[in-house]
Symmetry: C2
Subunit: 373 residues, 2 copies
Amino acid sequence: MKLTIVRDEFLKGLSIASRAVASKSAIPVLNNLKIELNETGLFITGSNNDLTVQTMVPYNRDGKEIIRNYKEGATLINAKIITEIARRIDSLEITIDVIDSTIAIISDNRSEFKLNCIRAEEYPEVELRGSGTSLVFQNIEFTTLVNQTAFAASQKEQRPILTALNLEAGGGKLVATATDSARMARKTIDIDPGVSFVTNIPAKMMVEVVHLAENAPTIELIVSDKKAISSFGLTTIATRLLSGEYPNTKNIVPKALLYVLEVNAQDTIKAINRASLLSIERENVVNLSMSKNGVEISSKSSQIGSASEKIDVFKYEGGDLEVGFNNEFVLSAIRALGSTDVTIAFVGEMKPFVVRNDLDDSVIQVITPVRIF
Amino acid sequence: MKLTIVRDEFLKGLSIASRAVASKSAIPVLNNLKIELNETGLFITGSNNDLTVQTMVPYNRDGKEIIRNYKEGATLINAKIITEIARRIDSLEITIDVIDSTIAIISDNRSEFKLNCIRAEEYPEVELRGSGTSLVFQNIEFTTLVNQTAFAASQKEQRPILTALNLEAGGGKLVATATDSARMARKTIDIDPGVSFVTNIPAKMMVEVVHLAENAPTIELIVSDKKAISSFGLTTIATRLLSGEYPNTKNIVPKALLYVLEVNAQDTIKAINRASLLSIERENVVNLSMSKNGVEISSKSSQIGSASEKIDVFKYEGGDLEVGFNNEFVLSAIRALGSTDVTIAFVGEMKPFVVRNDLDDSVIQVITPVRIF
């Protein structure tokens, strides 16, 4: 295997594939990237066993030669080292020459690196061209779907199923749901009525796709029984699905909302941010109290002191109410809506409440309050 | 105590004084800032017992009113909380009202914070108007003196004296020396011939002065037996001196330099950065070999591989030599010189070597090599 490649293109490819490489993998071979040059281009693959990212650097792009002076072949090279080498080399091109499948010589006209490498055959088999149900999204559509929901998935591994973004396709709708059991985010978009599936994809993978697909016009998602594959531009990401039953979230969204506030999103974010400064002993707990005298956000620390502020309300329905909530949950729900104004609506002091945008009923955020006394 | 103060000015003052406050002090009262309004202005003081920073916000600046509606007084308020409050409030002004020396009400027209505070009398006595020998520096002169030397002081507390910047004034010269015993940096500048002292100031304090004095035209340093006080603009920093005898560094600078290289600083920094990628088992150790065939920087890892590159040399004196060194030491020495070209000069393979700028003999960097084989 041998090639001379434009440094920026090589570095970009290495950086993309490295997203899947763990900082220290329990499976030593996965500390490497698989680098394979075939008739299509240079394929670079990284994996942490759960998630695999593969990208391709073509021979030419827009009439510009990217790879020249080449001989096909494949090898495994330490992901961190090869990426750092490509980053620190400041020539326009880098030459890679793999000798006997055991040593890769990476060089420009200044520096020469001899890296021990591993035969490509030792890399685990990853199937990236799976069959299954396919959905093609516009980038903005996919990005919004993920950004408005994935943050509400659990970060903890105690109940792995809660780390998923639950996708239900059918009847011309795709419903994405994430919950960590204390809050839930749900987004619904229109899709081809012929598509139908239910699947649980790790929310992290969906976020990774959004991150890497930044400049791609469309994103394809292929869902099968065992895995999900996402493709955009010259990059493919595969992940194992989460097994187990996703909790029934159908009845979580409260119906009889007796207390309704409409507020400016940015002002409310700032007010909650300020009030949360004093939520020290009960970390992140902020109170909201509403009455005819106005709406107040407050927090209290017996050691340090208290914070309170009135927020301007455009619309107010219902009587007096006092609710405590995790300020991070409300902040991320408001931010996820991305709207100028938001509506916060309550059933009662210990019932889940809703954060929504009245101009967009495709997305809803539900948060369980925290007991205050 | 009561005042209404321009928010930006208050926040700036809090941020400056907070530089001295430890993230969690063993002496609880030092988690607070002392805030004192007297006839001169608002004095804000922070301390970690070793280092004290005091700054003043005046009543007026450039004809613009900064503090109004005031009543003199003093209190102690939690440093982190008051600084964060000032940061998150986005009004132009903040009002502070201290009631019974026990509660401070911080408010703008939106938010109100009630903070438990402590009587000012409980703050340790800090003498910031010390007498002693005074030196006044131009900012650039002081900044260069510190930046070219302080980085070479030890970060470790095993031998506290090595965390000092050693200053020797006398005969119209001020010599600043820092060493962590594996390297040494020394800078000499001209001063008033009448000034004479020897002192060991924590290098960290000197770096803090450079940081905080960014926009001050001049910096005064007052040295006494027990402490050093630095003043600039409306800010004063006091620190305890380090006791103990500073090691004799007079004879460390090698004289008979048999091998001399002159190289471009930036190219050499980049080459060392690249080569250091493979210094994995012996962390940070990079080799330099010079012979009639050229000068090469290299490193080697038995597991991963090796790196090598030739560097362009403008001047070359002496025969063949191979030296190993800590790449971080050489990189920081080259950077500290701040020159386009640098000279690296050796006595022999295990003797301290010199990194200097031939156009500026006020500064010299000496580094002990590392054994290679």
